[in-house]
Amino acid sequence: MKSRLSLSVNGEAHDVLVPVHKTLLEVLREDLGLIGTKHGCELGECGTCTVLVDGEPVLSCLALPADLGGREILTVEGMAEGGRLHPLQQAFAELGAAQCGYCTPGILVTAKALLAGRPTPTRQEIKEALAGNLCRCTGYTKILDAVELASLRLDHSGLTSPNVGRRRPGEGAPTANETDHSGLTSPNVGRRRPGEGAPTANPT
C-alpha cells in the first residue's frame, strides 16, 4: 500500500506517493531521481548512503521516509550553492581525494556536518567523524587532507560570514596554498595547522 509523504530535500518540498517500506535511499534514488546518494551494502555497514537529516549524518538505507516528515534532508546534490562547489567538494577535486568516487557523496556530507559543528577539527577528529564511511580506493590520506584544506579555507573565510564557501580561488582573503595543487608535496596544504600537535600516523 502506498502512502503520500511530504519530504524536504535540499530545501525543496517534495510530495511522493511511495510504499511505506521503501527506504529513504530508495525514495531518493528511484522516486526523486537524486542518484548522487549511493547504494552500497544496504545494511548500515559502509556509509556510502549517508545523508544529513537536520544536519546530522544518518544512513539513508536504514531510514524510513515516513519518520522524516518535517525534517530537513540534505544530499550531496544540495551542497553546491549557486552553481559553485562547496569548499569540501572543491578541496576533494583539487587534492584528488576521490578515485572511483563511490564513497565520495557520503563522505562529503559527513564532513560537512563535522565542519558545521567543529570548524577546525584535528586530524584525529576528522578520522573519528569519518569512521563510518568506508573507502576502498584512496587509503583515506587524501580524504583527510581535503577535509583539512576545506576546514582551513572555511575557517579563514569566517564561518559566521554570509559568504561562507562562496569565495572563488584567488578572490582575496588569506588562503592556504590555494593554488598549490600538488597537495601532499606541500608542507601546508591539507596538513596540520601550527601548534596542532605531533604528526599522526596514516589511518591504515
Partner: protein
C-alpha cells in the same frame, strides 16, 4: 538488491498507544526505534513482521534526566550519540559513555537508540547472512531451520549477545522500566536476559523498554573494553565491563560483566568477590583476571577464534582494572586487532 519486505507502519505518539498496538497485533507486530538492527535483519528475511510499530515519534521515550549524584533516568529512545556525549554520563558513568560511543559507526549511533542496543538481536556467523546464503548452507534453528550449525548436537541456539551497553549497564546496577498494554514494571537489567540465542530476552513481546534507570554513581568508577577486528562498524566479539566502588585505597564493591561470550551478558562474580576489601595491586589484578576468564565460554561463531577470545578475556579484565587503578598498561577503550 535487498529490499525491506512489505509491512504496515504505525507511528503512535504515546507509549500507551504503542503498547496497545503491539498487544492488538500480537505475533504479527514488532516495535522499531532506530531501525539499525531490525531493518538489516528484515532485509535478510530474519524477521518478517506484518506490522511495525515505530517508536520514533514518542516523546516520552527520549531524554536524559537526573544527575550522577542522585541517579539518572535515560529514555530508551535516546540515541547512542546522545548517551555517549552527555556530560553527566561521561563524568559519572564513564563506561556507559564509552560503550555507547563504540557501537558501530557515527551515522549508526545518530540513529540507533540505547533501548535498541539493550535489546539488540543475538548474532552468529550462521545467522547474520542473506536468505540465499542461509538457504544454501541449510537453515539454522534461529530462523527457518531446526538445528544449530555451531553445535549440531545441541538442542539450543548459541547465538551471541552482541550489545556493548548491556554488560556495562549490568555492571552499573541499572534497572529497566518495561511498559505493556496492561501495566508497567521495573526490573534489574540482568533480569531482562536469559542464556538462549533465540529467546534471549525475558520481556513479553508486547512490552517495551521505556527507561534505563541508573543508581547514584557516588564513589563508583567504571571501564569498558571492546574487542573487534576494526576500530569501527564491528560488533563486539568480547566486551569487558568493570565497575568499582572504592573505599579509600581498597575496593569496597566490584562488578565484572562480560559481553559477547554467551547468549546474554555474563557476570564474573568470583572475580568480583576477590576484589572486595583488597588493594588493586598488580598481583591481585592478575589473579582476578584469571578468575574472570572462567565464565567466559565463547564458541566458534563470531569473528576471531574462540580460544583467542577466551584468552583475551583475561587480558582485557586486567587492562580494565589497571586503567581504573591508574597503573601502567591500562587498556584503551577499543582494541583494534588487524
Amino acid at each position: 538488491m535487498m529490499r525491506l519486505p512489505p509491512f504496515t507502519y504505525l507511528a503512535p505518539r504515546t507509549l500507551h498507544a504503542a503498547a496497545t498496538a503491539l498487544a492488538e497485533h500480537g505475533a504479527d507486530a514488532m516495535p522499531v526505534a532506530g531501525g539499525t538492527d531490525l531493518f538489516p535483519n528484515m532485509k535478510r528475511r530474519q524477521f518478517e513482521p506484518k506490522v511495525l510499530v515505530g517508536l520514533r515519534g514518542i516523546r516520552e521515550l527520549t531524554g536524559i534526566r537526573g544527575r550522577g549524584r542522585e541517579g539518572m533516568t535515560l529514555g530508551a529512545g535516546t540515541t547512542l550519540s546522545a548517551v555517549a556525549a552527555h556530560p553527566e554520563i561521561v563524568a559519572h558513568y564513564g563506561a556507559l559513555a564509552t560503550a555507547a560511543g563504540l557501537v558501530s559507526s557515527p551515522q549508526l549511533r545518530n540513529m540507533g537508540t540505547l533501548g535498541g542496543n539493550v535489546c539488540v538481536d543475538t548474532r552468529c556467523n550462521y545467522y547474520n547472512q542473506s536468505h540465499e546464503w542461509r538457504k544454501a548452507i541449510g537453515f539454522c534453528m534461529k530462523k527457518d531451520g531446526d538445528i544449530c550449525l555451531v553445535a549440531p548436537g545441541s538442542s539450543r541456539c548459541w547465538a551471541v549477545s552482541s550489545s556493548d551497553t548491556a554488560p556495562v549497564l549490568w555492571s552499573l546496577g541499572a534497572r529497566v522500566r518495561l511498559v505493556g498494554a496492561s501495566g508497567e514494571r521495573v526490573v534489574p537489567l540482568e533480569a531482562l536476559y536469559r542464556d538462549d540465542g533465540i529467546q534471549y530476552l525475558t520481556k513479553q513481546p508486547g512490552e517495551l523498554v521505556a527507561d534505563i534507570v541508573l543508581p547514584p554513581a557516588d564513589g563508583w568508577t567504571s571501564a569498558y573494553l571492546k574487542l573487534r577486528r576494526r576500530g569501527s562498524f564491528d560488533f563486539p566479539v568480547l566486551g569487558v565491563a568493570v565497575a568499582l566502588r572504592m573505599d579509600g585505597d581498597r575496593v569496597g564493591e566490584a562488578r565484572i560483566v562480560l559481553g559477547a561470550v554467551a547468549s546474554q551478558p555474563r557476570p564474573a562474580p568470583d572475580a568480583a568477590a576477590a576484589l572486595a576489601g583488597e588493594r588493586l595491586t598488580p598481583e591481585l589484578i592478575t589473579r582476578v583476571a584469571d578468575l574472570a576468564a572462567g565464565p567466559s565460554k565463547p564458541l566458534d561463531n563470531t569473528d576471531f577464534t574462540h580460544p583467542y577470545r577466551k584468552k583475551m578475556t583475561r587480558v582485557f579484565v586486567a587492562r580494565a582494572l589497571r586503567a581504573l587503578a591508574g597503573l601502567p598498561g591500562g587498556g584503551r577503550a577499543a582494541e583494534e586487532v588487524a
